[in-house]
């Protein structure tokens, strides 16, 4: 069994990207911390041939849900688990526009996109983690990517166009 330090070094950045995509820049670090502490605790019992990515994403998924629930309790005590993540547009270490677009996705789509495109997990594995069928996970990821293209990429293209024309208009200033 490898020293846990190697697990942090090899998979820590991937789990951080997943947490950021699912929770946004602010709550991601709490989920990462809770996930790796839980993983360290359970690590000696992990089977030698286990899929470490899937194991870590499964733990991170549970901690992400905990963080969302805790945030919801803090915000409005009586409110049910929100479908959409809070904190859109908050300043963070990375592009607020991407997070705003991710945050606008239904939670299932956001998770399917993160677990497939950032963690590299197959849809069958994602279905095990999030519940539902493999096909539903595949559809959620496809819909998520389609929605992201429509919102995030359309926005940034419009922005690029706007800044190009703005530069033309602003020439000579």
């Amino acid at each position: 069994m490898r020293p846990f330090e190697q697990i942090v070094a090899e998979y820590g950045p991937m789990v951080l990207r997943v947490c950021r995509a699912v929770l946004g820049p602010v709550d991601a670090e709490d989920a990462w911390s809770e996930a790796f502490l839980a993983a360290l605790k359970a690590y000696p019992r992990l089977e030698e041939d286990a899929n470490v990515e899937a194991w870590l994403v499964t733990i991170a998924h549970r901690k992400a849900i905990d963080v969302v629930r805790a945030a919801a309790r803090r915000a409005v005590p009586a409110e049910a688990l929100p479908e959409r993540a809070s904190g859109a547009g908050q300043p963070g270490d990375w592009d607020g526009d991407l997070w705003a677009a991710l945050a606008a996705l239904p939670r299932k789509q956001r998770m399917a996109v993160a677990y497939h495109y950032l963690a590299g997990l197959p849809y069958a594995e994602i279905a095990t983690i999030t519940g539902g069928t493999t096909d539903a996970a595949r559809r959620a990821a496809a819909d998520g990517i389609k929605n992201l293209r429509a919102s995030y990429l359309a926005d940034s293209e419009a922005e690029a166009t706007a800044s190009t024309s703005g530069a033309k208009e602003g020439a000579g200033r």
């Binding site: 995509a21 995030y152 990429l153």
Partner: protein, 205 residues
């Protein structure tokens, strides 16, 4: 119509850094603190640059459990700790601060004895009895393998003393370098003959 290449999905996440070293360093420190607080940081380690090379230092909650020379392989030593002690191992220099400080003082010749908790669980039986005897060899002096064998309760086990010294998990701190051949030559050493000579010269100066 202008050709627009449709971005693939990975292009969507360009704003999410693949590796955010500052964030990972922050999170790593937070993990170390939380793990130590929860009592699940079974082995903490760091490296220390010394005149005899970069040393790996590892400690359990009980004390220093491993000092490894570059020639022994730091990764090999960590893999052995994962197998023999626990895989809950993190790079966590804080726990090793007293060890690093005392080693620095030793190499600066301002320290002649180590005052550290040592975890000798990796050595059992006769090897353990050898290691238990070694700290009683004073700084700057030496004993022969035969003398150590007698002190450990088995005067014929001269060869086994050599094996016990070679397998010493905490060289320097438990001074197996002070055990030499009866003809006065240095004999083998876990850190190599040059390191043994350097330590004996340091202590003789």
């Amino acid at each position: 119509m202008m050709a627009i290449t449709e971005p693939d999905a990975s292009g969507l996440f360009g704003a999410l850094p693949e590796a955010d070293e500052a964030a990972i360093a922050r999170l790593h420190a937070r993990l170390v603190a939380a793990a130590a607080g929860a009592g699940i940081l079974d082995v903490a380690y760091r490296t220390l640059d010394t005149p005899v090379g970069s040393l790996l230092l590892a400690a359990t909650e009980q004390g220093l459990i491993r000092v490894a020379y570059p020639g022994q392989g730091h990764d090999t030593a960590l893999a052995q700790l994962a197998e023999q002690v626990s895989p809950r191992i993190l790079h966590a220099p804080g726990r090793l601060d007293p060890v690093a400080r005392q080693l620095e003082e030793y190499f600066a010749r301002s320290r002649t004895a180590f005052d550290l908790p040592v975890d000798l669980r990796l050595a059992t039986g006769f090897r353990r009895r050898v290691l238990d005897h070694l700290p009683s060899i004073p700084y700057g002096s030496t004993e022969s393998y035969g003398q150590v064998a007698a002190a450990a309760g088995s005067s014929r086990a001269v060869r086994a003393v050599g094996t016990a010294c070679a397998a010493n998990p905490v060289p320097i701190v438990v001074p197996c370098h002070r055990v030499i051949r009866s003809d006065g030559t240095y004999g083998g050493y876990a850190g190599g003959a040059d390191a043994k000579q350097a330590l004996l010269h340091l202590e003789a100066a």
